[in-house]
Amino acid sequence: MSIAPAEFDAPPERRSEDYLWTLNFGPQHPATHTTLRLVLKLEGERVVDAMPEMGYLHSGFEKIGEHLTFNQYVTVTDRMNYISPMANNVAWHHAVEKLLGIELTPRCTFIRTIIAELARISDHLLCNGAVGLDTGAFTFFLYAFYQREVIYDIFETLCGARFTNSYTRVGGVSQDMTPLVIEKIRSFLKTFPKTLDDMERLLNRNRIFVDRTKGVGVLTKAEAINRGATGPVARASGVTRDLRRDEPYLAYADLDFQVCCASAGDCYARYLVRMQEMRESLKIVEQALEKLPGGPINVGIDQRTALPTKKQVYSTIEGTISHFELSMSNRGFEVPCEESYAAIEAPNGELGFYIVGDGEDAAYRARCRPPSVLHFAMFPHLIRGHTLSDIVAVLGSLNIIAAELDR
């Protein structure tokens, strides 16, 4: 619906800009979900260009990472992607353990796999729920949020915190999985597929939702690779890359699951991939619970990273020494003067940490590779030519979390 510029007296090169509207979207807007800003150039209702701006939540997480020890920093990672903090905890300590060269106990790898997948489900529920909410499907959002509440409840039983879990430790986890937690996860595994069916019935063939998401924000496979997309965003565009399968970490090599892909690359495909991934996550959790091995959750005291149990501290000399040394500020871990990068398949995409060690038990540099930054950077490319109301669908389907964006 372009207005013919003939009536303008301005010279042609200026004329083309004259009737464009500039609209400030955010930083505080219900549909941005968090604090990010878009400066839009509109022609009527059509978006000619968008200029994303970030940094409103910048809190220097990477700088803080150079001053907190490897165990302390896990509390900061909670606050990066706060809709799936468990996945961030796992990612951070996965990278730390790679730098320190620690092999986890089998039970720990399975517990971490289970919580990472539960975090994926809760992340996808929020993302898809919010896409539904923004495109007018309020019931869908409530269904999704009810199930998120159940997962919070599981996490609360597991480690005492619903939201900012800080669950992992170097070489292990803070709490063992009790029978009560396993029971709660099992009951979630039983009830959740029914809700998932309901949710799919609500939206998959919903005319309004399909019209608002199909063909909107199309990302081709070549562009997805060129622009560094990872995770569900890339897989919805036909990139068959999933670190859980390609570079199996934790217990994923022992578990059977499928990598969900689509080829359309639009908002609807991203929604479908996330829905399907939740089913695969359920499969993974179910198998991991079946195979959950016994044994200790932390590495042994010879590794000098995880605090020994109370029994070891009080009844063995090694335990006492290890506990004492780990509590002393000038002792602690043996960190190589090396650097390494390790990544996991977080709900949003590849979440990795590049850690430089210099012998201290805090990182010399703790670089976080956040998937959201690369996804937000491609936003103008996705929205050009679409209407103003499509912004919420595209933003929602990219699942941009400003706290992870700005760090």
């Binding site: 001053h67 560094g228 890359r241 990068y341 590049y354 670089r367 930054v373």
Partner: protein
């Protein structure tokens, strides 16, 4: 299971990508740590080397970041850029290091190769002050435009230099 065992030390010479790089740019410093292959490329050749690697199948630029080695024991250079490359068709990964020094740390931008580098390089410029030549839009990414320092440098204190207190306050009368 995590498996971080190092491959034998002679694998550095057998990595085909390294062989191709050395054919093009002469002998390069490379190392292997916990299965992660790393190679140092001179700053003058960084764009050509990364272009060569892109043509050899590293189609995904995972990350561009930087480390300030100001207080690092035995470091020869001040800034070390980290290019993490991966492939969407094979499990290969490669870490390319490019070093830069004061007073004008400058590296060629790889935005012409990967659009993904656009914001990543803007972030490095913002937080470290590395200048990327050929970058289409080198503005600050996370810090405000008026900010003058580069806060992830090691000589920048954790609590800042008082910028927070000098921040202009918008009052009701002047809003």
């Amino acid at each position: 299971m995590n498996s971080f065992s190092d491959a034998p030390s002679d694998s550095a010479t057998t990595c085909p990508h390294l062989v191709a790089l050395e054919q093009a740019f002469g002998s390069l410093e490379s190392s292997l740590f916990r299965g992660q292959q790393r190679v140092v490329v001179p700053a003058a050749n960084s764009f050509a080397a990364l272009g060569l690697l892109k043509d050899r199948g590293f189609d995904l630029l995972v990350d561009v970041s930087c480390v300030d080695y100001l207080e690092y024991r035995g470091a020869k250079h001040r800034y070390g850029l980290v290019y993490l490359l991966a492939s969407t068709t094979s499990p290969d990964r490669l870490t390319v290091r490019v070093f830069a020094d004061d007073p004008e740390p400058t590296v060629a931008s790889v935005v012409p190769l990967w659009e993904a580098a656009n914001w990543l390089e803007r972030e490095v410029w913002d937080l470290f002050g590395i200048h990327f030549t050929g970058h289409p839009d080198l503005r600050r990414l996370v810090m405000p435009e008026a900010f003058t320092a580069h806060p992830l440098r090691k000589d920048y204190p954790l609590q800042g230099r008082g910028e927070r207190h000098n921040f202009p306050v918008i009052t009701r009368d002047h809003s």
